[in-house]
């Protein structure tokens, strides 16, 4: 709350009323283990907690609202949270594709992600909003990208073959070398961050939802703030599926998959504020989103969420506000590989601002471009992204599998004109990835 003006809250979250939910909890009640994890930190407001990723503080592949919290914090506290690689750290440089596939097949019903948590946030109650500001992210020095033969990803049928590659993350230069002469810029973000559902039981970590989870929104980097609706007492916050970079679509199933040596977050509770879907605040935008098995329905949700935001911001009805989207909202694909596919829209905080984003239909100075139009957004996305896989082979001489992987980590798929009978997707690949060979 300290860092947020009344105005920001009112436009971003339709604030009904905000007070700190400080309950009966006191630090003295914590276990010895939890006390040891609170460390001196004069620069941090609130307490600083260290949360290492161990077999005791992580779960592999599911969210369960009955999971015993691994840490209890107060609103305003900061956590330096560590994450693991997939499958409880079994997918690390050297792990073969065969092993990766076996880990998935032998563990049906759960995701590959290792989730650190849950963190119990004192005072958070159903109907509140959890505010998570990302102060800093530092990944491990390595990452991986793979597609599993004939399984998962946007094109499992077309890719009966697969590959795994490992990469060195150079966080001084903020790039990773994909191949000689090709560098991917690094923008680490949590692929998965979410709270517990209201419903009891173990849920696969794969599909995202109103609770957040596997949102795969690459804008959620250091310096941004995530807002999640709270469904259970204490909220129960997890994160995993740590990414060093990701393309919009994440088409071959994986981003530049890493683990975070540190994701440093400050967590607050906003009382009595209803939120239907997560929102993200960046320096310039409020991001709205929607997820569904059908990308058309995901778009409908994102549209409704955006209408609510823009209506609130401009004092008009949500229905009328939706009509402004073409002028002010920059909508893109988050992912199409997590069972529930996603669309997110970036909406400028400055109500006077109009959209400046390009939706090119052919190659530009800065981008390789593919595009497709269809009444079915799923088909438009499939066509545009498959076209990019072809383009990268033809124009840049990449192999099929490398094209699939590089697009999964770097392609930017934007929504253009969107009517019920004609939806266009524009996929862009930055030419700046190709650098002079050293």
């Amino acid at each position: 709350m300290k860092s947020m003006s009344k105005w920001k809250l009112s436009v971003g979250l339709a604030l009904a009323g905000a007070t700190f939910g400080v309950g009966a909890y006191t630090y003295e009640q914590l276990s010895m283990e939890e006390k040891l994890r609170i460390v001196p930190a004069a620069h941090v407001s609130g307490k600083l907690h260290l949360l290492p990723a161990t077999m005791e503080t992580t779960q592999w592949g599911w969210f369960d609202n009955a999971q015993t919290p691994v840490m209890t914090i107060m609103p305003g506290d900061t956590v330096a949270l560590e994450t693991m690689m997939h499958s409880h750290n079994q997918i690390v440089p050297g792990t073969t594709l065969e092993t990766i596939k076996k880990l998935r097949i032998d563990n049906p019903g759960r995701g590959p992600h290792t989730l650190t948590g849950p963190i119990f946030v004192e005072g958070a109650e159903p109907g509140d909003v959890l505010k998570i500001h990302i102060n800093k992210i530092m990944p491990r020095s390595y990452a991986t990208n793979f597609n599993i033969p004939g399984m998962f990803g946007e094109f499992p049928k077309e890719f009966q073959d697969g590959q795994v590659k490992y990469f060195y993350l150079d966080m001084d230069k903020k790039v990773t070398e994909f191949a000689p002469g090709i560098e991917i810029p690094l923008h680490p973000f949590p692929g998965t961050i979410g709270v517990a559902r209201a419903e009891p039981g173990k849920y696969s970590s794969v599909p995202p939802g109103p609770f957040g989870g596997n949102m795969d929104i690459r804008e959620l980097t250091e310096g941004t703030t995530l807002y999640l609706p709270v469904f259970v007492k204490g909220a129960l916050l997890w994160s995993g599926d740590s990414h060093a970079a990701q393309g919009n679509g994440e088409i071959n199933l994986t981003a530049l998959e890493t683990a975070f040596k540190e994701m440093n977050i400050t967590v607050d509770v906003i009382k009595g504020t209803k939120l239907d879907w997560p929102r993200i605040e960046t320096s310039r935008n409020w991001i709205t989103m929607g997820y569904d098995n059908d990308l058309n329905k995901a778009w409908d949700i994102a549209k409704a969420e955006t209408g609510k935001y823009l209506g609130q911001q401009r004092g008009i009805s949500p229905e009328k506000a939706v009509g402004l989207m073409q002028k002010v909202s920059d909508c893109r694909i988050s992912e199409v590989v997590n069972i529930k596919k996603g669309v997110y829209c970036m909406n400028p905080k400055d109500a006077k601002s109009t959209i400046t984003v390009d939706h090119p239909v052919a190659e530009t100075n800065r981008y390789w471009v593919t595009t497709a139009t269809d009444a079915d957004l799923n088909k438009a996305m499939d066509q545009a992204s498959m076209a990019m896989i072809g383009l990268l082979q033809e124009k840049k001489g990449l192999s099929r599998l490398d094209s699939y992987g590089l697009a999964s980590m770097s392609m930017d798929c934007r929504l253009g004109d969107l009517s019920d009978d004609s939806k266009s997707v524009h996929c862009l690949m930055p030419k700046s990835l190709w650098v002079a060979k050293k």
Copy 2:
């Protein structure tokens, strides 16, 4: 070899002849797992290998020259090596002192250190020298310091009580906060890095020796180069016991104990060059060293090693060169808690340079100072460091256990006048650790 002039080698290592030991090994012979760990890296000469720390790539507490290598590299290759916290990552923020003590008692005969390796270096043979240049070190975001009640450390009898503390490592500011108003500067280095002994069997990782190992020399930071004698084919290189900072003496048993998300090293082989003890090259110095159960004998070894170096550098006999040490060598305590205690001497590469280091006998503008003189160097060190523990309580209001811990992480113990019947130790604590409270 590329980075080293003939002159540097000749003075540092009494070079008999240097050629690369490239054997029959080719990259094509590597296993699929090892090939997957070699990643694109145009900026690196040689190949870049990723070595994650897992249960398969680490051992807890021993060196064994029969251990199957976890990686094979060529001379000139670079490794981005990861390490774990102690006891196979069981000592992480939240682990109680009781558990730490139990882990040690339940595992007699081996050290607490988790060692990543061994790395087989193609072409390295007994009688060669392994050259390890440290390109970069990045620790995890947390660290610990502890003393175990009545066990280990310089003063087990005097400290029947113990404590464990955890800390946040701020690598942006390169400090950790020990307590409000007290900041420890971070200078990460491998507490333990070494090669296999000639002798078969499992050896505790605690005592250092001619093979390197638990040297605890805090000068071995990013940018420096370590030279180790090779005793077995392939050398077999390990590292662990990762430190974010350490005092000379490491008196309460532990430094600022962390794990490295990355220790990036380039490894070379210098053929046919005899070395009796490890040496370290910094930008200004060649460091010589000695270790023994008796600090007086460790000093004798360091003296002999320094005589060899200075004699070589100046074209005089080692015996005569030892006489120069008082003028040109800056000798300090490495540690007194690893069964074999250590002394190291920093010898300027510039033969015209004379010693500029202070050996104060009383408080200065920059340091709190304690000092002791005795014919027995063990006693002089014990007296000087115990006096510092007292001083920190008296002058700075620290608790006994905090004084012990802070001195273990930050105190600098230097050797002053050293004759057979009078050896002086000067322990300095930088006043700069005390900063204005925020």
